[in-house]
């Protein structure tokens, strides 16, 4: 079959690779109808995530049709149109049973790597390096879905592919940030990043009852989109001092909940980026935590900061003093998608959660490398490139 593969840092190519097979009785094979770029892929592309191997199929946010099931699959059958969670969960370990699916204890068959890096093993993720299980990604004609009974959700008839697609990853990630960040009615919430994830977090905060939601980015088209489709206020961080602006808009308190949806390649108009980038190059620091630092400084005393952006290793100049003395709560996680997807599909079908506008560019799988170039460099207003392998 055809697939979009990682070949090295900033190098992607469309290749012919062997078709996936059922390897476990609870597996299914899904024929991919739509699969999208995600900010997390940019970290793979940039070489920040270890244990990638030339030839690895990337992609983890997708929707498709079940075409083959293993003998122990119970809840899905051939022909089901499903949105598949980017995170693989077994459904029966302690963490899955407690709705912390990205901490699944059984879905990463190569657990030693993250265990050594982080002192604990996390769930397998499609197309996200051998550290996360080495599963082949969804930018392909077909993909093997382990534990499909727990990982895939049938899309309601009234919801089309494009609307359901982002229920795989961006929407549940954003929802988790607002939910576990503790957003309550009346709160002021600030969100760093107006990519797919940040926009979904902002919308979730509104739906959870936040009084004001303020989203931060630099790209005018993303800021406008966030105002129009999400209903949040915005700040362009290149034009103003973000922390001062947030203070002013919140009566001097600072936001109650700060959600970081930027990740380890954060940008900054000031010298921070040069400093962090130089340290990354020298291997002295793996990740650039610019937005995390800002969120911690901006947050109101006693508030909460949730890190949705992906980080892989060590960071420098972490404001632990501010965190401790201001009595903040800091949390982060890969998304617990299975916990939110059914509810999100419902909100999408009722029109309360809009997602399709994120798909600014739809193309074939062959155009994958161009799609990533546009997405990475934010060309032509690209927010997400969506590939249709069978178009």
């Amino acid at each position: 079959m055809k697939a979009l593969t990682w070949q090295g840092v900033n190098e992607l190519s469309v290749e012919r690779v062997p078709d996936p097979r059922i390897l476990n009785a609870q597996d299914a094979i899904v024929k991919v109808r739509m699969t999208t770029t995600c900010g997390s892929d940019l970290h793979l592309l940039g070489g920040y995530i270890p244990a990638m191997r030339a030839g690895d199929v990337i992609g983890h946010e997708f929707l498709g049709e079940v075409v083959e099931t293993g003998p122990e699959v119970r809840r899905h059958r051939v022909g089901d149109r499903v949105v598949v969670c980017s995170i693989i969960g077994c459904g029966r370990c302690w963490h899955c049973e407690h709705d912390m699916w990205s901490l699944c204890e059984n879905s990463n068959p190569k657990p030693g790597i993250t265990d050594m890096m982080w002192g604990g093993t996390t769930a397998g993720i499609f197309g996200y390096s051998h550290a996360m299980g080495g599963f082949k990604g969804s930018h392909a004609e077909y993909v093997r879905v382990p534990f499909i009974d727990y990982s895939a959700f049938t899309v309601p008839d009234g919801v089309d592919d494009l609307n359901a697609l982002f229920a795989s990853d961006a929407a549940p990630t954003g929802w988790m940030g607002a939910d576990l960040g503790g957003v309550r009615p009346g709160d002021v919430v600030a969100v760093w990043g107006c990519g797919g994830v940040g926009q979904m977090a902002a919308r979730a905060a509104i739906l959870l009852g936040a009084d004001r939601v303020i989203a931060i980015d630099r790209y005018p088209e993303r800021l406008t989109m966030t105002e129009r489709h999400i209903g949040a206020e915005t700040i362009d961080y290149t034009r103003t001092d973000v922390i001062a602006e947030l203070r002013e808009r919140t009566g001097g308190r600072g936001p109650d909940v700060c959600i970081e949806a930027v990740g380890l390649e954060a940008d900054s108009p000031g010298p921070q980026k040069i400093y962090d980038k130089a340290k990354q190059r020298l291997g002295l620091e793996q990740d650039r935590p610019i937005a995390v630092r800002e969120a911690i400084h901006a947050c109101r005393t006693g508030g909460s900061v949730f890190v949705l952006g992906v980080f892989a290793g060590m960071v420098d100049k972490f404001p632990l003093g501010a965190l401790m003395n201001k009595g903040l709560t800091l949390r982060g996680a890969q998304q617990h998608g299975q916990r939110y997807i059914p509810k999100l599909l419902d909100l999408i079908s009722k029109g309360e959660l809009r997602t399709a506008h994120l798909a600014t560019h739809t193309m074939t799988l062959d155009e994958g490398p161009r799609g990533y170039d546009m997405f990475k460099n934010k060309k032509d207003g690209c927010v997400r490139a969506v590939f249709r392998p069978w178009a």
């Binding site: 244990a51 191997r53 030339a54």
Partner: protein, 157 residues
């Protein structure tokens, strides 16, 4: 030039320090403790489901007489703590590094068996990684392969 000499002296100093540390009585005592440490997993099932009638889960049973096993109830609602360790002496120091690279440290087989037992008992099967691992062999790729192949037997467990 001066800097190179200084550098060499520093490295030599660190080297001596490392040797002294490796040979110290404390380090040796510590290595012995590590060598006999129990490797543990927690399984989200009651002890009578983990070892019904005292029967070990198949992946551990396969290791036969080479290991000893302990089973105890976990606190809270956590299920069962299952531990195992090799009865044969395990390599230490440089030998340990070589054995781990070669996949011959007996603890690697124990970790793999514990993880497989957990997955089997909780989900009914042992999850297999996708294959083939790749379509393009490269030197760095081979390193990733080696790390992945050993991954089931490594880690903090």
């Amino acid at each position: 030039m001066k800097r190179a000499v200084l550098g060499a002296m520093m490295l030599g100093g660190i080297g001596l320090g490392v040797m002294r540390w490796l040979n110290s009585r404390q380090t040796k005592a510590r290595a012995e403790r590590e060598a006999s440490r129990w490797l543990m997993v927690t399984i989200n099932r009651r002890p009578d489901e983990v070892v019904p009638d005292g029967r070990l889960p198949e992946p551990l049973a396969r290791l036969g007489e080479t290991i000893e096993v302990q089973v105890r109830e976990a606190p809270g609602d956590r299920g069962t703590e299952l531990g195992a360790r090799p009865v044969t002496p395990v390599p230490t120091g440089v030998e340990e590094v070589m054995a781990r690279l070669a996949g011959e440290d007996p603890r690697q087989a124990v970790r793999t068996a514990l993880r497989e037992s957990k997955c089997l008992i909780e989900t009914g099967e042992v999850l297999r990684p996708d294959e083939p691992p790749t379509t393009r062999p490269t030197p760095t790729g081979r390193l990733v392969d080696l790390a992945s192949q050993r991954a089931g037997g490594e880690g903090r467990l």
